[in-house]
């Protein structure tokens, strides 16, 4: 019994280790106060696991969501900002499409796409006039990779439900009593929430900075 428990713990640790190894990671995060705006640069890693690469290459759009928290020392959240990178592969023109904040970009290779996505830079991240110059700030970042959008997910759920209703004349579909049990709908109900992230990074924190120093 004890050995079984130990094996289970080991298996769990292996799974956790594997999951951690494949999770996206913020390698570095730097926030600098410029003339009028806060500039942010971040280096990201492990954004695309093989499963996500294959998903994007099959033509399904993916989203990389960047959640920022601006925190005044010691731990007071001042502002929340979210940025989203929308990625898709154009199967017919064999190129990758990248959309970020109404800016669009076409790249011809996945390596190029990965390079662009891994280096996030925004000079006008946040207007400084909204912030007080007194406290010391830190910026936090968490990355979430969402390979299947809510819309796509709904399409697949519909497909699951319809395939159950049309292709399977399984027992329980239609009863003489009028009781109808759609097992596919039941399965779809238990599939979990839509827009589910596939990989979420740990929260990363920038070095502290003060606005007054740069002004």
């Amino acid at each position: 019994m004890r050995r079984q428990i130990n094996l289970k713990i080991l298996l769990f640790l292996l799974l956790v280790t594997e999951a951690t190894a494949q999770a996206p990671r913020v390698v570095s995060l730097v926030a600098e106060a410029g003339e009028q705006h806060l500039a942010v640069s971040a280096r990201l890693a492990h954004l695309f696991s093989p499963k996500i690469v294959n998903t994007i290459r099959s033509g399904m759009p993916a989203v990389i969501r960047l959640d920022f928290r601006l925190v005044a020392e010691p731990d007071r959240e001042v502002q929340r900002l979210t940025r989203a990178l929308h990625l898709s592969y154009d199967l017919w023109n064999e190129r990758y499409h990248l959309r970020f904040d109404h800016r669009e970009q076409l790249v011809m290779s996945f390596a190029e796409l990965e390079k662009i996505c891994s280096a996030f830079e925004e000079q006008q991240f946040l207007p400084l006039d909204r912030l007080s110059s007194q406290p010391t700030y830190r910026l936090r970042l968490q990355i979430t990779v969402i390979p299947i959008s809510a819309k796509q997910d709904q399409q697949f759920r519909d497909w699951l439900e319809n395939s159950g209703a049309t292709e399977e004349s399984a027992p329980g579909e239609e009863r003489a009593s009028g009781f109808r049990l759609n097992l596919s709908k039941l399965l779809s109900f238990f599939l979990g929430k839509k827009d589910q992230p596939f990989g979420v990074s740990e929260w990363a924190m920038s070095p502290p900075f003060r606005l007054g120093e740069a002004r």
């Binding site: 499963k51 996500i52 294959n54 998903t55 290459r57 099959s58 033509g59 399904m60 199967l91 017919w92 023109n93 064999e94 190129r95 076409l106 390979p147 299947i148 796509q152 697949f156 497909w159 049990l181 097992l183 039941l186 399965l187 779809s188 109900f189 238990f190 599939l191 979990g192 589910q196 596939f198």
Partner: protein
């Protein structure tokens, strides 16, 4: 009992769970298999190859279009643009555009190609090929024209993929996307299937639990009631009966229990009555013995006193004679009392013989010529075995009781029978018996009469019971009484002999 119920419920749970375990194993196995088949490496490689093939096929179609475009450009070199025979390339829509992406001329005329102008880069050398917004139905290509073609800078062409290719592309891409979806949602699918299984199974388990509890309760409740009944019985509460709610085996058990308690109570009452009677008889025997022995010497002594008086005082002699007479009478009364005690204590052995109650009743009625006794006799009364003298005494006792109760009451002797019983009754229209005395009138030494010692009805009861019968009384104050002696016709001579007491049976 609760433990028995718990056992039943546990058995029901086990009966529900045990078939579910292999089913759950099979479900899990098939889920793993089906997902495994969908996600296995050959399937993935097959889909990747299909996508590659699709890409190759599309490239082949693209190359065909490019070849036609080159051909078009060659022809464009040789002839005037306006004279170009575009019908030759009818499935293709082509347009000449300038470096800013504006259309200069198109074939067929006025045809508009919806292409992406942003991808046209004028720095590219001649013959460069650019994809300008193909989709699943149409391919759109732009070919960089040589400098001599100015102001035309690009030749843009649009052609639909073949329908077959469109269909294949749609199918392959759908399959690839579905596979990717399954791959990404593998864990959730497994969990979803497990939860769906539980969602279907849990109500069944709950239902089974409910049924288990219901049936366990249904089975154990009567048993619990029986157990309570036995406890009540042990505590001496003989009136307790269990409620019988069904006619099944458990219901039959309850009925049998109730019947058994009733029989036990009757037997217990009989035992008590017999014990009481035996005690009274013992007392009667001792009394009779102790009183009877000195009576004769006392009587002789009294006579001797009277006879041997030597005096001549006639008055004294007269007084002495009177006193001796009274003493003699009292001794006689004591002797009568002793005789009754003896009769009660030492009942003669019964000698049953075939006879007719009607004849007995007629004979007894004849004894009372001064005060006639009415007869209501059942002409179809069967013959039976009984001790003639003992039963004669029963009837005489009952009739005399009735006569003593009232000097004017009408007394009736009645016989009747039912399929299982024969009966003889003595009825009177006398003052009746108060209800508080009804339960005691058959007890020895209980009497409401000043002269009686209360053994008459006790002797009657004993004779009837020794015949295997029962005696009961119905009475209403002011209206009269009815004593009914009932005898079962089930007794046989063998039974009578075995019991060494009297009995009746129908002959």
């Amino acid at each position: 009992m609760k433990r028995l119920r718990t056992k039943f419920i546990l058995i029901f749970i086990l009966l529900t769970l045990l078939p579910a375990l292999p089913v759950a194993y099979l479900v899990r196995y098939f889920v793993e298999r089906s997902l495994g088949i969908a996600l296995q490496k050959p399937m993935t490689e097959g889909l990747t190859s299909a996508l590659d093939l699709l890409s190759l096929q599309m490239n082949a179609e693209r190359q065909k279009l490019v070849a036609q475009l080159h051909n078009f450009i060659r022809n464009l070199d040789a002839t005037e643009l306006t004279k170009w025979n575009w019908n030759k390339y009818e499935p293709i829509t082509v347009a000449l555009v300038d470096s800013s992406g504006e259309t200069l001329q198109s074939w067929p005329k006025l045809a508009a190609i919806n292409f992406e102008k942003s991808v046209l880069q004028n720095l590219l050398p001649g013959d460069s090929l650019v994809n300008v917004g193909s989709d699943s139905v149409t391919m759109r290509l732009a070919l960089r024209l040589p400098q001599r073609m100015q102001p035309a800078a690009w030749l843009v062409a649009e052609q639909n993929f073949s329908e077959k290719l469109q269909h294949h592309a749609h199918t392959i891409i759908n399959a690839a996307q579905t596979r990717q979806y399954l791959d990404l949602k593998e864990f959730e699918l497994r969990r979803g299937m497990l939860l769906a299984f539980l969602a279907v199974y849990a109500p069944m388990l709950l239902f089974s639990l409910g049924m288990g509890w219901y049936f366990a309760r249904r089975i154990t409740s009567p048993l619990a009631e029986l157990a309570r009944g036995v406890q009540q019985l042990a505590a001496g509460r003989w009136e307790h009966r269990v409620t019988v709610r069904s006619q099944d085996e458990i219901g039959q058990l309850g009925t049998a229990f109730n019947q058994m308690v009733g029989d036990l109570r009757r037997q217990q009452e009989q035992v008590i009555a017999l014990e009481k009677m035996a005690a009274w008889r013992e007392i009667a025997r001792v009394l009779a013995h102790e009183i009877k022995n000195p009576l004769t010497p006392m009587q002789l002594m009294v006579r001797q006193i009277q006879d041997e008086y030597p005096g001549t005082d006639e008055a004294y002699r007269q007084t002495l004679r009177e006193c001796c007479r009274i003493i003699d009478e009292e001794i006689e009364k004591l002797r009568q009392l002793v005789r009754e005690f003896s009769d009660f204590a030492r009942m003669p052995e019964l000698h049953p013989a075939p006879g007719q109650f009607n004849e007995l009743a007629t004979e007894v009625a004849k004894l009372y010529s001064q005060r006639p006794v009415e007869l209501q006799l059942d002409p179809a009364l069967p013959q039976c075995n009984f001790d003639w003298d003992a039963m004669r005494r029963v009837l005489i006792n009952l009739i005399e009781n009735a006569m003593q109760a009232s000097a004017t009451a009408t007394i009736t002797l009645r016989t009747f029978h039912s399929p299982n019983e024969i009966a003889i009754a003595v009825e009177d229209t006398g003052p009746g018996i108060p209800s508080e005395n009804l339960s005691r009138i058959f007890e020895p030494y209980f009497s409401t009469k000043k002269s009686g010692i209360g053994l008459g009805l006790a002797i009657v009861k004993r004779i009837v019971e020794e015949h295997g019968g029962t005696i009961s009384v119905q009475s209403e104050v002011g209206r009269g009484s009815r004593f009914i002696c009932k005898f079962s016709d089930a007794l046989t001579i063998a039974d009578l002999n075995k019991n060494t007491m009297g009995g009746f049976y129908v002959t």
